[in-house]
Structures are given as structure tokens and as C-alpha cells.
């Protein structure tokens, strides 16, 4: 064990940290490539096809962007909670509840003029997502419950509740017995801008707003302080309960908004599978972006490329979509692992020095 020497780094220059991360990403691609080789696939070809499948044509680029939108907005929601060290694992449920509230408005007030209806859907979805996040936040603030478990379990309640609606009260009578909820009317569908639904504009605006919120507002500062030290927040006279609850309303509200966008622009109805795992993937992207709003945008686009490229692989090359998941997992593993090398310095020169120490030891 003596050949490897590990020392803590005190201060690493920024460009070196970036270099380490870059190497980690490269290694993750190599590692995923090796696994592909074992299964008799050609990694270079697969990587090219992933890029080709996600950026190769206008249609594919659009598809990639469409997949990036829910990831970005959900990641921003998760970012707010994580900044406060409130581990919101409940984005899935918050997305579903947001979609449900939007669907309720869309199905019952479908005749309302389009801009009003869409605005109502946005408000309803953010409220519903916010409430879904507020419940665990309330219990955490009042009783100190564990938010990780709480938010996670709220996901299943949301999924099962929407399944119940789908099979029961909201079942479309016109679907010939299929357990489906009715399609939204045209007024409830987000318009397209430059050929992609307007969600991308919302996502971009939110990225900027979130960056300003976290870095330049008092609330953002309070959230950061609460995340760093509760005692300090108390000492500084912050109203901790209200900060936790506000942050979670924002967090859940953004996730709920994702639900509305997906229901309105993609599915045009409500299904229990509407969140499509974005709530979990967004945890990864928010974390990889180191809770920085601008970085979230970049990371989410890369992940959307993987998702879209994976789907393309399946269709074009008859290669299972899971290859993309493999790459995702590998990237996550290496990038998180690279944090260790950013905090600690590992040197191998011990191999040569060991001899000296042993000589000394013999004395």
C-alpha cells in the first residue's frame, strides 16, 4: 500500500480542476467503450451514431432539444433544494402532480381562450408540484422528518394516484374501454416556436432567472447559508422554516411546470408515466453541474443527446437503447469519482522512495 501516496490538496487551480474533469469524461467514454467491445459492438461507431442520432439532422436536433427541456427545468428545481441540502428525490412525483393539475384545467376548461388556458395550466401545475414538495418540507421544518425518504415515497403516491384517475374517474369514455385519459383540446397545447414547442424558451428564461436568484438575491443567499449551516442561519436571524418552505415551493413548482409542459406539448394528455424518469435523471444532471444553473443547461443538453442518440441507436442499428444508459452511468461514475482527485493528490513516486524508507528502517 505504500506505493500510493494520498495527500489532501488545499487549493487546486481552476484550470487544473477542469482538466481533471475532462480526463474523467474521456476515461468514462473509454470505459463504456470497453464494455461495448465485450458485447461485440464497435464503440467508435456507436459514439458517432449517438452524435449522428442526436445532432445529425434538423429533426434529430429538435428531438434532442425536446428531451433537454424537461431535464433543464427539473434540474433547476432540484438545484434549489440541493443548494439548501434538502435532498429532494421527489421530482418524479412533483412532475406527475403538476401534469395532473394541468390536465385537470385542460380537460375541464378546454374552451377557454388559448393564452388564458395555458397560463392557468402553468399556474395550476406549479401550485400542484409546489404543494407536493411543500408537504415533506412542512414536516421537515416542523418535525425534522427525513426528506429523502419522504420525497421518495411521495413519488409513488403520485404515480398511483394518477393511475387511479386513469383507470377510474378520468377514464375517457370515448376510448372504447382503454384506460386512457382524454386528449387535450387544441387550446391546451403549447404553441411551437421555430418548430419546437415553446418550452425551450421557458427553459432558457428559467436558467437565467435561477442563476440570478441563487447568486444575486437575498433569498438565494439565505438558501445557501441554510444549506451550509443551520446554526449560522439562526444566529443571523433568518427565518429558517420560511426559507425551507419557500425553497421547496420553488423546487416543486419548477418540477410541476415540467409536468405541464410534458403533458401539454408532448403527450397532449395525462398518463402515469408522464415523468419518464426525468425526475431521477435530473438529480444526476443537477449534481454533475455542481448546482450551477448555467452548467445545468450544458449538462442537460449533453444528457439529452445521450437519451436521443440512444433511441436512435435502437431504431437505426438495432442496438439496445441501454447502451446510452451505460454511457450515462459510466460518465456519472467517473465524474463523481474525479472529485476525489480534485480534493486529494495521489502520487505514485512512492515506489522509488519506499526503498529509502526501508533502508532507514533497518537502521
Amino acid at each position: 500500500m505504500n506505493f500510493i501516496k494520498i495527500t489532501k490538496r488545499d487549493d487546486l487551480p481552476r484550470n487544473k480542476a477542469i482538466l481533471i474533469r475532462g480526463v474523467a469524461i474521456l476515461l468514462s467514454l473509454i470505459c463504456a467503450g470497453l464494455v461495448m467491445l465485450i458485447f461485440g459492438l464497435e464503440p467508435i461507431k456507436i459514439y458517432t451514431e449517438i452524435i449522428n442520432g442526436s445532432l445529425g439532422s434538423e429533426m434529430r436536433i429538435k428531438q434532442t432539444i425536446i428531451k433537454a427541456i424537461p431535464l433543464v427545468i427539473t434540474s433547476l428545481g432540484i438545484l434549489v433544494a440541493f443548494k439548501m441540502k434538502f435532498w429532494n428525490i421527489g421530482a418524479e412525483g412533483q412532475i406527475i402532480m403538476g401534469a395532473m393539475a394541468a390536465a385537470y384545467v385542460a380537460l375541464n376548461y378546454g374552451e377557454t381562450p388559448k393564452p388564458v388556458l395555458l397560463l392557468l395550466m402553468v399556474i395550476a401545475s406549479m401550485l400542484a408540484g409546489g404543494i407536493w414538495a411543500f408537504i415533506p418540507a412542512f414536516f421537515k421544518a416542523k418535525m425534522g422528518t427525513n426528506e429523502t425518504i419522504f420525497t421518495l415515497m411521495m413519488n409513488y403516491i403520485a404515480i398511483k394516484f394518477v393511475t387511479y384517475l386513469q383507470y377510474g374517474p378520468w377514464k375517457d369514455p370515448g376510448a372504447q374501454g382503454f384506460p386512457k385519459i382524454a386528449q387535450f383540446g387544441d387550446n391546451a397545447v403549447l404553441p411551437a416556436v421555430f418548430g419546437i414547442h415553446a418550452g425551450w424558451i421557458i427553459a432558457l428564461i428559467l436558467v437565467v432567472l435561477m442563476y440570478i436568484f441563487i447568486n444575486h438575491t437575498k433569498k438565494g443567499y439565505e438558501i445557501t447559508v441554510v444549506g451550509e449551516s443551520l446554526e449560522t442561519a439562526r444566529y443571523a436571524g433568518m427565518n429558517i422554516k420560511s426559507i425551507i418552505i419557500t425553497a421547496m415551493l420553488i423546487s416543486g413548482g419548477l418540477c410541476g411546470l415540467t409536468g405541464m409542459i410534458q403533458a401539454s406539448a408532448i403527450e397532449r394528455t395525462l398518463t402515469s408515466g408522464i415523468s419518464a424518469g426525468y425526475g431521477f435523471t435530473a438529480i444526476i444532471t443537477a449534481w454533475l453541474a455542481r448546482l450551477n444553473a448555467i452548467a445545468v443547461l450544458v449538462v442537460c443538453i449533453l444528457f439529452a443527446m445521450l437519451i436521443q442518440g440512444g433511441a436512435y441507436l435502437q431504431i437505426a442499428m438495432n442496438v439496445p437503447e441501454s447502451v446510452a444508459s451505460l454511457v450515462q452511468g459510466s460518465v456519472l461514475f467517473f465524474v463523481l469519482g474525479s472529485d476525489f482527485f480534485i480534493q486529494y493528490k495521489v502520487s505514485l513516486q512512492g515506489l522509488f522512495r519506499k526503498k529509502n524508507a526501508e533502508e532507514g528502517g533497518a537502521a
Binding site: 488545499d10 444575486h216 437575498k218 449551516s229 528502517g361
Partner: protein, 508 residues
């Protein structure tokens, strides 16, 4: 031993980034010697010893042990060479017994032979006069016993060179006496002992020679018997330091803070403060003495609005502030500064820079929803230069600063708000001489400005030198308010233990 020289460190240099922690340091320690390594916080003592125990690698210079040049790649190499380090924070497993802690991490058979081990432990104990029960569990031990166990642990591993990092910081006077006896026994046995400290009286009492470090350089090695305390201070600080704390009395004190029959319950609903009453006047430093856990923390935090009073009132310039939260206090414009005991856990955010730590107290009074950094950047520069804070810049996370500088940031922020009342809990804990005296000066400066300072202290000598009056607490009860000019240290000690004095001085 072949050679009289146990440790020879030559021209040792070590840099962390741009900071040179050690620069061409020379140190030689003989067998059968107790060698003190003296220096202020940040002088490079711990860095130097960490290189000796294999935690860091020197950038330059050589280390020789018993005349052989060595290069350590890990603490294991160092242990193999017979060097044992006792850290300030003990590295023991609470639920295990003393002997289990001794063998933990050691190579050996799958089964440990309990009896043989106990015998070996006793053998070491007898040889050095250490007193420990091998079968006692660590969580049942006092701090002194834990330290003894740490020493046995390194001796069991064959250490002939012992390094102790600030070993007395956590001990009572009796335990310190016992420790010094152990060290003397080890010296008799021919061991080399290095003791890191910044307490001068201990250096004078125990050491044979002293090496003084200052700002990463070795200033010199002297024989303890041939120097005076004042010489050592001069070597440490680099200039003559007046060790007297000045005390002036100001006329026309007016009451600022009136604590009236204050009772506070702790988490278990037991009284932490029991009907405490006293008055803090303008232009005075009111000391609070008492053994640890006598209600000092509760007193400070109740005044600052962090915990609720059970009964009683606290008047700030005539208005009752009991029941007010810290937010209310800020909003009402009550100018009260509070330096809590836990600086990084409560007073500051360690991972944030100086600017953002200044914003902490400021931002609530700013209008609008946006955070304005501008004024705090200016303020940060002002505080850094006024209090002489050594930091790479104002954007360095405060947890990277040394203890004294962290305290200066905290004090600087609180003073900057021009408080009328300043509450300080253990303001100099963990600080070295230079930093401590700087803090005393700053408090005296505040006093001269008419501020009422509540000074929670642990060193009775300092309390007596610095404070105009001293409130003594024992088990949450106020046992006396005394004038340090009219009582002795022993009398204060008596009050701290719950006794009473016949002559009550000062105003009760």
C-alpha cells in the same frame, strides 16, 4: 542508541500553494530530551511535525532519524522508525476497551491473545509510570485517561520518539501535572520527546530546550534554563510584547443591559440558568467566570435571542427583549454584537468568503430583493486592513484562515456594526499570544467607545486583568459579582465551586 541525536531535520521547506508553511527549518532533538516546539498559530509547528510523522512530504531538506536519512511515504513508515505522534484530537474507538484500541490496526494473528496483551500493556505502563486499566472502555474514560491511552498506544508500537501536539489544551491542572511526570519518566528511559505548544509557562516547566518558529522560519534553539519568558515571546512574536493588559475606568457608567431574574431550561427541561440577575454598564468589561457548562452558553444565547427564557426579563436600554428572536433584534435596531463560542459553526459560514460573511448581518437591512455586495466589499477591505487579518484576499473562504484570523473576521464584523453591547463567548479560545492580545486590545477599544462588553472567559488570570467586574456562575446560579481588584484568584475559584464570600463587592 548509537547516536545521541534522535531527530535531525535540515533545511526543511514545505509550501501549500503560494503559502510557505515551512522555510529552511532546522531542528535537532536528542535522546533523553524534552524539546519544546514553540510558535504562534500558523508558525508552521504542526506542518513540521506532520512531515516527521509521514503525513506530509517535505518539498526540500532532509530528515534523519538516529543518523540515517529517511523519506517517509506514509505514517506507517514513520511508526516503523519509532516515531509516535499524539494528536490533539484523540483517535480512539469509543466502544472498545483500552487494550482493543491498542491492537487495532496492528498486524497480528486473527485471534488476539488477551492475557498476553494485558501483560504487555502493564509492562509498558509500569515502565513509564502510566496508569491505565487495560479493560476499561474508552467512553468511560476521562480526557486525561484517553491521552494516557494514546501514549501507551504509540509506545506499544515501539515508539522511541514521541511527538505531542498541544497536549495540555484539554487537560485540567492535575492532569497536566500527571502528564508531565510521564514525560519526565520517558526522558529518563532515553526517549526523545517533542512537545508542540504555545503556552510559555509549560515550556519553562517541562522542556530542556526550545526551538522557536515564526512565520515558517526557525528563529533559533535555546536552552530553557538560560532564557526568560520575555526572551521567548520576543523570539515568537518578533518584537517586545507588553504582557500587561491595560484597564481603564470610565466615569458615568449608565446601565445598558439589565438581566433580571433570568431562568432558562435546557433540552432536558432542567434549569440551565437559575434566577440570574446582573447589570452591564456602558464603558465596562463584565467578565463571566465559571467552570465549563455552568450556564455561560445559555446566558449568551438567551440575550442574543437564540434560545427562549423560561422566566425573567432582559432590558436593553430599558426595553424588555426577552422573547425577541435575532431577527426582531436586528429589525428593532438593537445594536448588539455576539461572538459565539462556535465561530465557524454559528458565527460564520466556513465555506463562504469574508465578503459573504459580512453580508450575513447586513443583508436584512438592505432594501429590495437583490443582494448588494458592493458596500460589503469595501467593508471587507477595511476590516482586513484595520484588524490586520492575514488572508490571500477577501474572497478566500474563511475556513482556510487560521484560528486567530477567523476570530478577527467575526469580531471585525460585529464591531463594525457599532454595537452598544458586545457579547463574547470564549473570545480567545485556541488563539495564540499575539492574536489573544490583539483581541483584548480590540475589546478595550470598544470599552473606551462606551460599549458594554460581556466577556465569557475561562482563564481566571485574564478575567482578573481585563474585566472591571466579574460575575461568577456555578451550575446556572449566580454565586457572586466581584471586583477583581478586591478578591483573590482563590476566592473566585471558591465562588466557581458554589461557595460564598463574606465580603460581597461590586454591586449585586
Amino acid at each position: 542508541m548509537q547516536d545521541k541525536v534522535a531527530i535531525e531535520m535540515k533545511d526543511i521547506s514545505k509550501a501549500f500553494g503560494a503559502v510557505k508553511a515551512n522555510e529552511n527549518i532546522n531542528l535537532s532533538v536528542l535522546n533523553g530530551e524534552i524539546h519544546a516546539l514553540l510558535g504562534e498559530n500558523g508558525a508552521g509547528k504542526s506542518t513540521l511535525m506532520n512531515m516527521l510523522s509521514g503525513i506530509y512530504n517535505p518539498d526540500g531538506g532532509t530528515i534523519s532519524i538516529y543518523g540515517r536519512e529517511v523519506k517517509f511515504n506514509s505514517p506507517k513508515d514513520s511508526i516503523r522508525m519509532g516515531i509516535g505522534m499524539i494528536h490533539q484530537h484523540f483517535k480512539l474507538v469509543d466502544v472498545l476497551t483500552a487494550k482493543e484500541n491498542i491492537v487495532i490496526g496492528q498486524k497480528g494473528n486473527f485471534f488476539t491473545r488477551g492475557k498476553e496483551l494485558s501483560r504487555k500493556v502493564r509492562e509498558i505502563s509500569d515502565r513509564y509510570g502510566l496508569d491505565i486499566n487495560p479493560d476499561k472502555k474508552v467512553y468511560e474514560m476521562s480526557v486525561g485517561e484517553k491521552q494516557t491511552l494514546e501514549i501507551i498506544k504509540v509506545l506499544y508500537r515501539g515508539a522511541k520518539i514521541l511527538i505531542l501536539d498541544e497536549p495540555t489544551a484539554v487537560l485540567t491542572p492535575q492532569e497536566i501535572k500527571r502528564l508531565f511526570q510521564i514525560l519526565r519518566n520517558m526522558k529518563e528511559e532515553g526517549c526523545a520527546v517533542v512537545i508542540i505548544t504555545h503556552k510559555l509557562n509549560e515550556v519553562m516547566e517541562i522542556s530542556d530546550r526550545v526551538t522557536v518558529l515564526r512565520k515558517g522560519n526557525s528563529i533559533g534553539t535555546v536552552e530553557t534554563s538560560k532564557v526568560e519568558v520575555s526572551n521567548l515571546i520576543e523570539m515568537m512574536v518578533g518584537k517586545k510584547v507588553d504582557l500587561a493588559i491595560k484597564k481603564e475606568t470610565f466615569a458615568n457608567p449608565k446601565p445598558l443591559l439589565d438581566v433580571d431574574n433570568l431562568s432558562v431550561l435546557d433540552k432536558e427541561k432542567k434549569p440551565a440558568l437559575d434566577q440570574v440577575s446582573f447589570t452591564l454598564n456602558s464603558g465596562e468589561i463584565l467578565g463571566v467566570a465559571g467552570v465549563a457548562g455552568s450556564g455561560q452558553k445559555e446566558l449568551c444565547e438567551t440575550i442574543a435571542g437564540l434560545i427562549h427564557a423560561d422566566k425573567g426579563r432582559i432590558f436593553f436600554e430599558g426595553g424588555n427583549i426577552v422573547g425577541k428572536t435575532p431577527r426582531d433584534i436586528i429589525r428593532l435596531g438593537i445594536r448588539m454584537g455576539f461572538i459565539p463560542e462556535d465561530r465557524l459553526g454559528m458565527g460564520l459560514v466556513g465555506s463562504m468568503d469574508i465578503v459573504h460573511n459580512l453580508i450575513l448581518k447586513d443583508y436584512q437591512s438592505q432594501p429590495g430583493i437583490f443582494l448588494k455586495r458592493g458596500p460589503c466589499v469595501e467593508k471587507a477591505n477595511k476590516i482586513v486592513s484595520r484588524l490586520d487579518i492575514s488572508t490571500p484576499d477577501i474572497y478566500t473562504p474563511v475556513k482556510r484562515l487560521s484560528g486567530g484570523n477567523i476570530q478577527k473576521v467575526l469580531l471585525g464584523r460585529e464591531i463594525d456594526a457599532a454595537p452598544k453591547v458586545l457579547i463574547t463567548a470564549y473570545a480567545v479560545r485556541g488563539l495564540d499570544i499575539g492574536a489573544s492580545y490583539k483581541i483584548y486590545d480590540l475589546l478595550n477599544e470598544q470599552k473606551a467607545r462606551g460599549v458594554g462588553v460581556l466577556f465569557i472567559g475561562e482563564d481566571i488570570d485574564v478575567l482578573m486583568d481585563l474585566c472591571d467586574r466579574i460575575v461568577v456562575l456555578c451550575g446556572g446560579k449566580l454565586t457572586g459579582i466581584v471586583d477583581p481588584g478586591q478578591v483573590t484568584k482563590e476566592e473566585i475559584g471558591l465562588l466557581m465551586a458554589g461557595g460564598t464570600l463574606e465580603k460581597e463587592v461590586g454591586q449585586a
